[in-house]
Symmetry: C2
Subunit: 269 residues, 2 copies
């Protein structure tokens, strides 16, 4: 789906919530953990319980790869389930890929052709020819890391060269790349001081903002720093929603946690 | 295996060759392509034909992910085959991962626990806490991107801040991280002007140098710029070896191509 449709969904649902399916097998409720399809069964229940409150789902590939090809199958089943049942939700493969051109093309094929994701997160370190292959797939989006939510963001992303930080260079330079109209950016909710700077560099782009919830970011501060006329903002919460309860009521608890965020979003909108 | 053992193998075989298994299904010999285990069958034949000439194998995860869970199974079978039959070869998951700490730990588990890789390539953009989780696995290595072989390397990696390039900052800063004695670095063979600078920053580290072969890097220039007393160097060739022939003689042609590189390496050593 397109970001135009995403904006419509945000306005309709009064929500810019993305639910992150960081479905660590070892943290799943005990009644699910021993099922051969545990990760998919868990995701399905979470999705069914939150779909009317969320406009997007983000699948963190690490939590599936760590279970090998069985985990990869759960990832396939999850994105297929979303694609077939909730086609109006914007789907993100949170994979942070990026490599030389012919390899990036393979990653793009993995997420856009073999799997029906709308977008994939991409690391900028290798530059233009590592990112553009993701933008060559019509109607698909690349979500470029700009300023991430972790402490390590201060190691390189905020280094100043000439008069700009590296993260500013990444955003500004990437605006000139082929297909840049389908570039989105990852900005950590824990870095609110920097968010307005990035919005100024990419006034119309959609931002994916993780770090609200378990990582401690402030939803209201994020909204005021970056929302534009089209909202242009997805706020992701993962652990605080999907692991709201470790008991039998996990789906209900996930819904309650998602609802609390959606209610805050509604007020802001 | 350790880099100490890798150095011994280099000295014994007079080779610092790493064969890259970028086994794009669409480029496999036609007699293999329709087999359900095509990628693994191809890799097995390439490995069996080159193992005495190479000291390392690098599996590029993109070319397996692009075939979905079936591809992921071929990746599993390949690393398992290497682990069981060629335990003296240093194995690299060329995955270029990196994320916030708890996610990087999951990637590390995927490659070091679920699969028996010796090392994984890691992107530096997200900083210390995105890389250290890979170094917390005893006896395992992280191969950090420093200066890559592609044109896009000049977008950000060579930007100067204060008196250093970003890639220099990445190498210098990463030397202070926990487990840095098990950090290796990716340097592109196409960037020979910069290689000595990086060697000076990490005198004892192993370097993984792709870009010889299809990408046009110069083996001799690379060797003279970065070899240290322990050699400290793996040169990777992928397409120029594995796709040396697209006919029935693909394994024989791969061996001939690997042999030509090994003979050059022998002269240099």
């Amino acid at each position: 789906m397109t970001t135009q449709l995403l904006t419509e969904q945000i306005q309709k649902k009064l929500s810019f919530l993305c639910v992150g399916l960081d479905s660590d097998l070892t943290k799943l409720p005990s009644q699910l953990r021993n099922r051969s399809d545990a990760q998919f069964a868990f995701n399905k229940a979470i999705i069914d319980a939150t779909h009317d409150l969320a406009v997007s789902y983000k699948i963190n590939t690490a939590f599936y790869e760590s279970e090998g090809s069985m985990g990869y199958q759960a990832l396939e089943q999850t994105i297929q389930y979303l694609h077939e049942n909730y086609p109006n939700h914007f789907t993100i493969a949170d994979a942070k890929r990026g490599d030389i051109g012919n390899t990036s093309t393979q990653y793009a094929r993995a997420f856009f052709e073999k799997l029906p994701f709308d977008s994939v997160t991409v690391a900028p370190y290798m530059g233009r020819d590592s990112v553009e292959p993701f933008l060559q797939f019509p109607g698909k989006y690349a979500v470029l890391l700009a300023l991430t939510s972790n402490q390590g963001a201060y190691d390189f992303q905020t280094l100043n060269y000439a008069d700009k930080s590296l993260y500013e260079a990444v955003v500004a330079t990437s605006r000139t790349w082929n297909g840049a109209e389908r570039l989105m950016y990852v900005l950590g909710a824990t870095k609110t001081d920097h968010l307005a700077t990035i919005r100024a560099l990419a006034p119309n782009a959609f931002f994916l903002v993780p770090g609200v919830g378990a990582q401690g970011g402030d939803l209201e501060a994020v909204f005021h720093a970056v929302a534009n006329d089209d909202i242009g903002l997805l706020v992701n919460a993962s652990r605080s929603i999907i692991f709201a309860s470790s008991g039998d009521d996990y789906a209900k608890a996930a819904r309650a946690s998602a609802l609390a965020l959606q209610q805050q979003m509604k007020t802001l909108l």
